[in-house]
């Protein structure tokens, strides 16, 4: 048997949920499940279990009991187990959902919620999470153990807010560094798993949004890491299977007529994915979706993106007019202004704006892209 690490990690929330329902406290149960996963990786290749989940539950429970100090405590807990009803399939789904709620609990900071979700729901090791976020392993270990302490008083069966879970998964997808662990793919896996545990149009909306953006990943950067703007991407390199799936999930969600932020964002991504060439993009419809997003979120960043879309739909002057009332300290305001100014034909002003935007960029890839845009205009002939 070849050990499928992703499959193994997919069993994590169910196993953890069973331990917690048997009376183990969350922090100790989570440690025990991690230990059991490590043992599975060691033992399974030579001795594959017939029932992988059952094996993990048994191993994790033994680890949990081993970790409890005294014999007396052990006996007390074992007696306690005898009182517990055997967990059925239905409660496994509930457990998975509860785990998402717990790991995204509002008492956690965003970075703690992200770390705890990746470990307790995703089954990643502390080292993998530390490497993914470019921090030392002891720092990540502390962050995770503090997060566990923070939620230790939260009842496991307390209903949570799915919106907080979606924000955490969106952070994993959107703000991940690239490392050994593919965080975007992991975010998709976790959102897919969440979608099987709860029927909610915004969960579908987020999953569709992730799939539609992930589909373009190969074309987003050159081999040496330079950003390729959407309009210049090689559309033959887009993952059509992921686009088809994302669009289908989005259609089904929109049909339920409970629009939310992620569905609207996914709709915009779908319209981009649907255009055979950049020139054939349905910009008027994209502007309409931005109007929906403005109504839903009233976010200045959304207004900024809407101004750029309006510049494509109604001309650069209209875009600049929509940009003018916005706060010029918004992220990418100057970059948007540079782009629209170039489209409006004022190349000298656009070059200066690109240089200014490069100075305000928050990533090296964006800074280098904007510097290249300025250089392109500054060195143009004639």
């Amino acid at each position: 048997m070849t050990l499928d690490a992703t499959l193994l990690r997919g069993l994590t929330p169910g196993v953890l949920g069973i331990l917690v329902r048997r009376g183990a406290d969350f922090a100790a149960a989570e440690d025990a499940v991690q230990d059991a996963l490590v043992e599975a990786v060691r033992v399974w290749p030579a001795n594959p279990p017939r029932d992988p989940k059952g094996w993990l539950v048994t191993a994790a429970w033994r680890k949990f009991l081993d970790a409890t100090r005294s014999e007396a405590a052990r006996r007390r807990r074992e007696d306690h187990v005898e009182d517990q009803p055997p967990p059925g399939e239905a409660s496994s789904t509930d457990d998975t959902l509860q785990l998402y709620f717990l790991c995204a609990h509002p008492s956690l900071t965003p970075s703690s919620a992200v770390a705890l979700t990746l470990r307790a729901v995703g089954g990643l090791t502390t080292r993998q999470i530390a490497e993914a976020y470019l921090v030392p392993e002891p720092t990540m270990a502390q962050r995770i153990s503090r997060a566990k302490r923070t939620v230790s008083g939260v009842r496991f069966d307390q209903p949570g807010d799915v919106a907080t879970v979606l924000r955490v998964l969106y952070l994993v997808f959107n703000e991940g560094y690239s490392g050994d662990v593919d965080l975007a793919a992991e975010a998709i896996r976790l959102t897919r798993q969440l979608a099987t545990a709860i029927d909610h149009p915004e969960v579908s909306g987020l999953l569709a949004l992730m799939l539609l953006h992930h589909a373009r990943r190969a074309s987003r950067t050159t081999p040496d890491g330079a950003l390729v703007p959407l309009a210049e991407q090689d559309r033959t390199r887009w993952d059509t299977a992921a686009i088809t799936e994302g669009v289908a999930i989005l259609r089904a969600a929109l049909a339920r007529d409970r629009l939310g932020e992620f569905q609207a964002q996914a709709a915009i991504a779908a319209l981009h994915a649907d255009a055979p060439t950049a020139g054939e993009t349905d910009w008027p419809q994209i502007v309409e979706w931005y109007d929906e997003l403005v109504a839903l979120t009233d976010s200045p960043v959304v207004r900024l993106n809407r101004a750029v879309a309006l510049g494509e739909a109604d001309g650069a002057r209209a875009g600049l007019a929509a940009l003018a009332p916005l706060d010029d300290t918004l992220p990418r305001y100057t970059a948007a202004s540079a782009y629209l100014t170039e489209r409006a034909g004022d190349l000298t002003a656009a070059a200066a704006l690109y240089t200014e935007a490069a100075g305000r960029a928050t990533s090296t890839a964006e800074r280098d892209h904007l510097t290249r845009q300025a250089a392109r205009l500054n060195t143009r002939s004639g």
Binding site: T109, P110, S111, S112, V114, A115, Y133, L134, V135, P136, P138, T139, M140, A141, Q142, R143, I144, R146, L171, F173, N174, E175, G176, Y177, S178, A184, L209, H213, H214, R217, L227, L230, Q265, I268, A269, H272, N305, V308, A361, T362, S363, T364, A365, E366, R367
Partner: protein
Amino acid sequence: MAKYLLLKHYRGAPNPVNDVPMDQWTPEEISAHLRYMRDYAARLEATGEYVGGDALAPEGTWVRYDGEGRPPVTDGPFAETKDLIAGWMIIDVDSYDRALELAAELSAAPAAGGKPLQEWLELRPLMSAPPTVSE
């Protein structure tokens, strides 16, 4: 979730509020200051916000390439160089406000008379990865 670099300067920063040079503190005041610095780093490790840090020797060298087959050219140190960095620390925090809070805490290290040094620290964001969703 953003990383920041905290820079402590030997020279080049505006003067601290408690502006007494370290060689005029009592030995106990120096010990208390250094202990505060160590405890500060340990606290950040415990909150899961510490990425790394080091103190730098004050004397450095300027170096540049000097053409194919030639040894690098060195120069300096220049006593008149305005900016001289004494040490750095990288933190990974949830917000800019939290970064400010931590920088202020470091600036509160005890100095002459047991009073906070209130030195100026430079706070610089690190470049991050570009977000996946950008349009």
